[in-house]
Amino acid sequence: MGELRRSFHEELDEIQAGIVRMAALVTEAVPRATESLLESNLELAQQIISADDQLNDLSMLLEERCHHVLALQAPMAGDLRALSTALRLNAELERSGDLAVNIAKATRRIYGTHYDATLRGLLARMSEEACRLVRLSIDAYVDRNAGLAAALGDIDDQLDNLNRECAQAVFQAHSTGAIDLQAAVQICLISRYYERIGDHAVNIGERVVYMVTGWLPEYTGSARLQIREHSNPGGPDEG
């Protein structure tokens, strides 16, 4: 049994290393996507699009590995939470990688558009902020730091604000005729992609809180629903 558990924990460590590697691929893809965008570098954009295959491959292997461990070792309590968390993190990171690819694809769509320094500055800052959030979420995961994980939602406010600022700047640039409608829409979408990467990092944080404390973020909403249904069985939802 001791031998079995030891190899089981080694498996868990390797799964964690896989998650860390996936996050590293994301935090490396995002600044590359930003560079391809700000410098209209189509070659780099293509590299990012191709490199996503590596992330997808890693994600698939990791998922299979998690299922394998779940099926063969029947883990319990904290170990089970660690595995289900790894499965969720895997999906969040894979999606974040796709968003970096979306930015690279948008680079191709707006190729040749010149936009002003304010917009460029905002996009660069959003890129840095999104990467910072992913890094913090992984720090929380590796350190089992529920406090940091829970704070990610508030840290993300800055990125949300930048997203709003970016939308304002796009309206401004479009109204003065500095960029056309196609570019305006694409830049708003790009800004949204960065903001979504931040949201995925916040989701990672929530799952880390669950892994460490066993508390699901959806619990509050679910409890509310039950109270409502209990006090008003069969009646319409009064919100």
């Binding site: 860390v20 590697r21 590293a24 935090t27 660069a124």
Partner: protein, 409 residues
């Protein structure tokens, strides 16, 4: 009688037993001695092996490159301190560890492999990972991977390449224009057109000579160590630079606010070099600001240093360019540079002047908000050698903001 015989037999028997026992004892003593010697030899030998391994380990620990040793199956046996951060990494560096593991596995199968890994960080790094099998006399001892940080050497390579291509390009553009203009001029009969062409020839010639002046200035500053030092009042240097940059600022309707407090702002410096540095900072601030904006220059004394800060509300410099802007000919946005007439030598001059005087130049910049450059020089407290006490401020026609009244805003 019988008793005598018995006693004799017993005595003989005892003697035989004694002799045998003695011989046995001798034999065993010999064996024990051999064993003791053997053990001692082993102990000594083992000690030597341990000592030798410790020595090798310490040598690898001291290496500036990362070293990872694996057994024949690719499992890691040893990692030196330089390689350890990659194994414990949680962010970009974790990818290096994955590459190391992959290459070690390949090398353990008998193939020497290498790969370059670029990390966007921050900080941005380029690492070169190579792995080779460890084999001797047909026996397999596993594999070793080496991790080299080649960021700096790649940067220097790129700098050298850029320098050659930039200098050729910068000189070729006005030269091409000159030869074209001269050709047209030769066939021109209309004196009015000829005179216009001659003016263009002059403009290009001035541009060319400006580039050559900058190059000469840079090469002079790079090769000298500012040995012709005297005590210089920074306020005078700033005032001179303001008067030189005045016309360009006026053209773009840029106002320069100068804050030169009445403090001891003397430094021991090569006056000409210092003037060149301050002028280049101001010239850049004007060049990279949009029309009608403001540029600030402030001198202050902080601790044992005198600082000259030049800030603008211009285009700003993206973070990834900030480390490279002090390289010769480095330009953040080449496409826009042409229209501003910069060749990318100004900040290289500033950096060299700062280095020559034991100081430094710092940059803070946000894209879309502006940049601020601070030239920090050690203060010199000896009496003024070639300066009057009061700085002569230029009459540039620009609003000069606070005159020397001790304000620093």
């Amino acid at each position: 009688m019988i008793a005598g015989l018995v006693a004799l037999a017993v005595a003989a028997g005892l003697a035989v037993v004694g002799a045998v026992a003695w011989q046995r004892h001798r034999h065993f003593a010999g064996v024990a001695e051999d064993r003791r010697r053997n053990d001692e030899w082993h102990r000594r030998h083992e000690g030597e092996v341990v000592e030798s391994e410790t020595r090798l380990r310490l040598s690898l620990d001291a290496a500036k490159q990362g070293v990872v040793v694996a057994d024949a199956s690719g499992a890691v046996l040893y990692r030196n301190p330089c390689a350890r951060p990659f194994a414990e990494a949680r962010h970009g560096e974790a990818l290096v560890e994955a590459v190391v593991a992959e290459l070690l596995a390949e090398a353990a199968r008998g193939q020497a492999v290498e790969r370059e890994v670029e990390l966007y960080g921050p900080p941005r790094r380029i690492l070169f990972v190579s792995a080779r099998p460890l084999r001797r006399d047909g026996r397999d001892y596993g594999a070793v991977a080496l991790i080299d940080d080649i960021t700096e050497s790649q940067r220097l390579d790129a700098m050298r390449r850029d320098f050659i291509s930039n200098i050729s390009h910068e000189l070729r553009t006005p030269m091409g224009a000159l030869s074209l203009l001269a050709e047209t001029l030769a066939g021109e009969t209309d004196p009015e057109v000829a005179s216009r062409l001659a003016c263009r020839v002059q403009v290009e010639a001035i541009r060319l000579s400006g580039i050559l002046d900058d190059l000469l200035e840079l090469s002079r500053i790079e090769s000298s160590d500012a040995s012709e030092r005297s005590v210089v009042d920074v306020r005078n240097v700033v005032a001179d630079a303001l008067s030189r940059v005045g016309p360009a600022a006026e053209e773009k309707r840029i106002s320069i606010e100068a804050s030169l407090p009445v403090l001891d702002l003397r430094v021991r410096a090569d006056r000409r070099q210092l003037a060149s540095a301050v002028f280049n900072l101001l010239d850049n601030a004007v060049k990279y600001s949009e029309a009608d904006h403001q540029v600030r220059v402030a001198a202050a004394r902080r601790g044992g240093c005198v600082e000259v800060e030049v800030s603008d509300r211009g285009y700003g410099i993206p973070l990834r360019h900030q480390k490279r802007i002090f390289e010769r000919f480095y330009q953040v946005d080449r496409s826009r540079e042409r229209t501003r007439g910069g060749v990318g030598l100004g900040l290289a001059i500033v950096r060299h002047v700062a280095a020559n005087h034991g100081g430094e130049v710092k940059v803070e910049s946000t894209v879309g908000e502006g940049s601020s450059f601070t030239l920090v020089l050690p203060a010199g407290n000896e009496p003024l050698a070639d300066e009057g006490d009061e700085p002569e401020l230029p009459e540039t026609g620009q609003p000069r903001g606070q005159q020397p009244v001790g304000a620093t805003a």
